[in-house]
């Protein structure tokens, strides 16, 4: 019997009072793809950081190909044949592909021999694994998918037999993700061992051979992928039964609430971010905006939320709103019945150092109901917050805790409670479930649908295609500052949306 490529025995790691990894054992056989799945903070990244030498485990042993190995730093990990592809790439933007691959693995004082050798090897690797790439292209000129390919090549160039990929598809279009999976497939055929860390169940089901589930620092199960189901994995991750599909009835759209015509945004660098957007959102419907991050969705939300100037026309309930003048701020927008759950709750939606009750009136602190004379009525705000926390199941339900001490999901619930309970005519929602645990996702989706059913208009922006598909009543796809097309979720599929997201128009497709 062959020895496992990687075997971890009884790994434990604590950060202060937090037990990030608790007695974790895992065996990964060579030539397989092993998925590690778990919610944010379950300890996946800590475990991989131990394997890659970033952290030292408090207890436990690591065996590589059956041999006990100590990995004090990443140099040792590379020497042991482990390569890591991080979620956020570690590439020098103004270097070429070739230079990035060689960086840190130069041989000798002169650069040219290393580069020559690397060029030859890259061509071989490209042939062997189907990793085609132009070695002389600069990193900032190639797409995200290609950049990831460079990261993989870097690891292979360093003779890695074991590849760890941390949330590799977070930044990719569906088509790019498919390409990545084809590459991983090929690598597996060539005998490489791959560990795939993700929180997306679909990826696990698509590509892995075995899957380990982590929950609160513990390894709750390791199963053969062919013998499990997404529902079972979700349950193992969360510890209870989870509804994976959003439960909603057909929409009943009313009059238009938001009408956008010819919206254009030029940023401070003079780059046109929005190139003439036309959109309509009606009462009682959810318009989902699909697209790869950075194609103008954020700018659209910022314009509608009142903190970016633009040209064009925006009407809310038939009345035009100010896009450049002194009424183009968040306060004026809120007065018009627009609520906004921003894409980045940590830098926009919440003030992390403020307590929950201070955050629960953020943006609405001018409300006369929250004042007593010249001062703010802190007692009333706290009481109001306690109610919100209870209704939105924020845990722990303590208004006096700072926002930063809540988990991502509970932080998002605080923002959502604040915006939804204002009973807005239009709700702007950006990335409602980014960095949110599966259990909270279900709840957040229910709240958004409930607001729709109450006859409100909702504009949803998300890079998660699954979320767009399951929540939206209509889908608009954005690419490069334009709306590429609108589809109904029942009449389209991921492939078609993926093409639109990549900028391929209907006529070409």
């Amino acid at each position: 019997m062959t020895a496992p490529a990687i075997e971890l025995k009884g790994i434990s790691k604590a950060f202060g009072p937090v037990q990030a990894n608790k007695d974790i054992s895992i065996r990964v056989m060579p030539g397989t793809i092993h998925g590690i799945i778990g919610e944010n903070g379950a300890g996946k990244s800590t475990l991989m950081s131990i394997l890659y030498g970033f952290y030292k485990a408090d207890a436990g042993e690591i065996f590589i190909n059956g041999k006990k190995t100590v990995i004090p730093d990443s140099q040792a990990a590379i020497a042991a044949g482990i390569g890591m592809v991080f979620q956020h790439f570690k590439l020098v933007e103004n270097f070429t592909v070739l230079e990035n691959v060689v960086l840190g693995a130069e041989e000798g004082a002169m650069l040219m021999p290393s580069l020559r050798k690397a060029r030859k090897e890259l061509t071989e690797l490209a042939k062997e694994y189907g990793l085609k790439i132009d070695p002389d292209a600069r990193i900032d000129e190639i797409g995200v998918g290609m950049q990831q390919r460079v990261e993989i090549l870097k690891a292979l160039y360093r003779q890695a037999d074991i590849l760890i990929l941390d949330e590799p598809t977070g930044v990719l279009t569906p088509a790019e993700a498919d390409q990545l999976f084809r590459i991983l497939d090929r690598l597996r055929e060539e005998g490489k061992t791959i560990i795939l860390i993700t929180h997306k169940l679909r990826e696990i089901m698509d590509i892995t051979d075995t899957v380990s589930v982590m929950r609160r620092g513990e390894m709750t199960a390791t199963v053969k992928t062919s013998e499990t189901s997404p529902a079972e994995l979700a349950e193992l991750m969360v510890g209870r039964k989870v509804l994976l599909r959003v439960d909603k009835t057909a929409a009943n759209p009313g009059k238009p609430v938001l009408e956008v015509e010819g919206l254009r945004v030029v940023d401070s660098q003079g780059v046109e971010r929005l190139r003439g957007i036309d959109l309509t959102v009606r009462a009682g419907e959810i318009l989902g905006i699909a697209g790869v991050a950075g194609n103008g969705q954020s700018e659209l939300l910022e314009v509608l939320g009142g903190y970016r100037t633009a040209t064009g026309t925006v009407r809310v309930n038939g009345e035009e709103i100010d896009l450049t003048g002194k009424h183009s701020d968040g306060r004026s927008r809120r007065a018009r019945g627009i609520a906004h759950v921003p894409e980045d709750r940590q830098s926009e939606g919440l003030i992390m150092d403020f307590m929950a009750w201070e955050n629960a009136v953020f943006g609405y602190h001018h409300d006369p109901a929250m004042q007593s004379g010249l001062l703010m009525n802190n007692a009333a705000i706290k009481a109001d917050t306690a109610g919100k926390m209870e209704r939105f199941d924020v845990r722990p339900p303590n208004p006096r805790l700072q926002a930063k001490s809540f988990s991502g999901g509970n932080q998002q619930k605080i923002v959502l409670a604040r915006e939804i309970e204002r009973n807005p005519d239009l709700l702007l929602v950006g990335q409602p479930t980014r960095g949110v645990d599966i259990g909270a996702i279900e709840f957040i989706h229910q709240q958004i649908v409930r607001l729709r059913d109450a006859g409100k208009a909702i504009l949803l922006v998300s890079v998660e295609l699954d979320e767009i598909m399951s929540l939206s009543d209509r889908i608009a796809v954005m690419f490069d500052g334009r709306v590429m097309g609108e589809r109904l979720p029942g009449e389209t599929d991921e492939k078609e949306l993926g093409l639109l997201m990549a900028g391929v128009t209907e006529t070409a497709a």
Binding site: G16, P17, Y307, D329, R331, S347, G349, I351, F362, Q371
Partner: protein
């Protein structure tokens, strides 16, 4: 991360810092061949041993109280106001104009208008760097420092060429009219039959400073404006999202800050000197930074830190007078206190946090 209780954060950390600074100071005094215990006795006796000493300690503390509050208000909006010195100088100008130009019937009226004049001049002096920061991105640390020099030059010019009484060789205004002289602590406490040194300069400005503490507390933690200032200071991007105007908050917070710094002038110009002299602020604007940092930018902390620095100032002056310890050494001691309470804060905080974490796990 393990956190320690609030009382330890607010009380224990500064106390230990001061203790460490005191030990180092003692070593320095030993090193130059003097007796640290005797020196400490001399300082305590000189600053707190008599109502005369207290009168000076509280007088200095009042200066630091205003500049400390000034720094902390700006700090809550994430603005580093290094310009309290210049703003206080301009405040002095405001006070002088109010006191000299208008014939006041009673000191109380004069005080109210002097306060307005001082605050207005200080606020104006802070508003320019604030506006430049908010609209043009000119760094407020640089501009406020430059404005200190401009203020000094401006006062120099005005005192020499404009405000100097005819025939005087002294670059200062003439004595303010009798009716503008503020009651000292001697006068105030005398009403209640409490004896207090007649010579000490502490005056009614101390009470104004205490009222300012309460008002700053209410402003920062209880009003919408304070809420917006703190929100903006913690996260500019979030403030933008909420519809809080960065320009407005920067300028308003800095004007309040400059106004508070300017108000210091009722203590040193109107209360003590009773005329405007060159360099009347004597560095109190800079001490205010240390006072605010040590006081955690909270009015109560600022008050306590201001009294501590008042003690150091007065005790240091006594030390220079009666012992063969050079006056510069007192600057060393003050610097050590600032170093430990401000810059080396984490050196004390981190071990304490670990200690509390360990104790909690045991229990």
């Amino acid at each position: 991360m393990s956190k320690m209780p609030a009382w330890a954060d607010a009380v224990l950390v500064p106390l230990i810092s001061i203790f460490l600074a005191a030990i180092l100071s003692a070593l320095v005094i030993l090193f130059i061949g003097e007796d640290p215990i005797a020196a400490l006795n001399l300082m305590v006796d000189g600053a707190l041993g008599s109502t005369y000493g207290w009168g000076y300690t509280l007088y200095y503390a009042t200066n630091f109280l205003f500049t400390g509050l000034a720094f902390s208000v700006a700090f809550h909006a994430a603005q580093f106001n290094i310009g309290a010195e210049g703003q206080a100088m301009l405040g002095g100008l405001g006070v002088a104009i109010v006191c000299i130009v208008i014939p006041w019937p009673h000191w109380s009226l004069a005080l109210i208008f002097a306060l307005v004049g001082a605050a207005a001049f200080g606020a104006f002096w802070a508003a320019i760097p604030a506006y430049l920061q908010a609209t043009r991105g000119s760094h407020i640390v640089i501009t406020t420092i430059m404005f200190n020099f401009i203020a000094a030059a401006l006062l120099n010019y005005l005192l020499v060429n404009v405000m100097r009484p005819e025939g005087s060789m002294d670059p200062a205004t003439g004595k303010f009219p009798e009716a503008t002289h503020l009651p000292t602590l001697h006068d105030i406490l005398g009403v209640f039959g409490i004896p207090f040194s007649k010579a000490a300069p502490a005056n009614i400005s101390l009470l104004i400073g205490l009222i300012a503490c309460v008002l700053v507390y209410l402003l920062i933690w209880r009003t919408r404006l304070g809420y917006e200032i703190r929100a903006f200071g913690k996260s500019e991007s979030a403030a933008r999202y909420a519809g809080i105007s960065p320009v407005k908050i920067t300028v308003v917070a800095m004007m309040i800050s400059g106004g508070l710094a300017g108000m210091m002038a009722i203590n040193n110009v109107m209360g003590e000197a009773e005329r405007l002299v060159m360099n009347a602020t004597e560095g109190a604007g800079f001490i205010g930074i240390a006072v605010a940092l040590m006081g955690r930018n909270h009015p109560l902390g600022v008050l306590l830190a201001a009294i501590l620095f008042g003690f150091l100032y007065q005790g240091g002056a006594e030390l220079a007078l009666w012992a063969s310890i050079p006056r510069e050494l007192i600057v060393v001691i003050q610097a050590l206190v600032i170093l430990f309470t401000g810059a080396l804060d984490n050196m004390v905080r981190m071990p304490l946090e670990r200690l509390f974490g360990a104790v909690r796990r045991e229990g």
